[in-house]
Symmetry: C2
Subunit: 163 residues, 2 copies
DNA sequence: ACAAAACATTATAATCAGTATAAATTTATA
DNA sequence: TATAAATTTATACTGATTATAATGTTTTGT
């Protein structure tokens, strides 16, 4: 009798087609998470949107369809998802926890102008001597200006900042 | 008449010998920061210790020698150092801002058992297509178990965790 | 099906790192 | 020395997150 057995699934980087509630329900069950309505909806948002939302962003979006949902439920559910390791926590910015259902190894670029976070493909990473260390999490976070924000501000950039 | 001109200095990864208060004073002046006593002491701690401390850790340590110092001064000073870009902010952990006076490109490993943060040398990093992006900050954060904590817990690791 | 246990959700209060404010002190300079 | 500018302080505040405790909902054993 096997208990507490979970199948670890490498989530695909971009879903060719969105996950159905049925698929999500099955997936959550596999991971030892009872697929309640709110959990389905929260995971659906994370896996099908991919905007690296904050807890509050999720709350505000879902509230439009489900006015009864509470902030606490969103926080509780995200904490559960983290514990069960089906989402990862991004600390790109201080005081701004973001959540990502894409567990493949990739980096994040945050635009300091528009605030958007984009995925960055990592071709290769070589580190020195981590013998004896057990690495459980890796995060690569970049910050700067995205192409469209640079375009929008070309004038200022050419002028140069010397403050 | 040149104003607001600063010399950007790549700080050495490990100081062979600690920076003297005189050197720090000169350095802060170069960077456009008036070298007040508290600023000297805070930067001295950051540059000579290299423990990636939180604001509160700095406050508690300095308070032993300088009981008059206030928490607000430490926060104010660290914010100033960030603005002037002579230290970098580490967001390895949520709700735990840490500060690093080493601005050379390196990663950080946080041990989940003892909480210590060690530097990690990055031999090589190749990213895909960031054409059009302007990268201003890079952070590589690892988490896991450090050698001494693994040693301490060898028993548990061998047993395996299947929860 | 029924009771008990386990789990899920909610509203509210509490926490805690960090920030803003405004007064007091120190330093620079006319 | 006066006056302005910068620095430091104590205190109050903010805002994201967590804890609490009450309520509602499934699951499980009988």
């Amino acid at each position: 009798m096997i208990k507490n057995m979970r199948v670890r699934v490498e989530l695909r980087e971009k879903p060719e087609k969105p996950w159905s509630l049925d698929e999500i329900s099955q997936f959550l069950s596999q991971q030892g998470i009872r697929p309640s309505f709110y959990r389905l909806k929260i995971f659906e948002y994370l896996i099908n949107e991919r905007t690296h939302p904050t807890a509050d962003e999720i709350y505000e979006v879902l509230r439009k369809d489900i006015p009864a949902i509470s902030r606490a439920t969103v926080y509780n559910t995200l904490r559960l998802f983290l514990e069960k390791q089906i989402v990862q926590l991004l600390n790109v910015e201080k005081n701004e926890a973001r959540y990502d259902a894409n567990l493949t190894w990739h980096g994040h670029f945050k635009c300091l102008a528009c605030g958007q976070i984009n995925d960055v493909e990592i071709k290769d990473l070589k580190l020195a001597d981590l013998d004896g260390y057990q690495v459980l999490e890796k995060h690569l976070d970049l910050k700067g200006l995205c192409p469209s924000c640079r375009e929008r501000n070309k004038f200022k950039e050419q002028e140069g900042l010397n403050g």
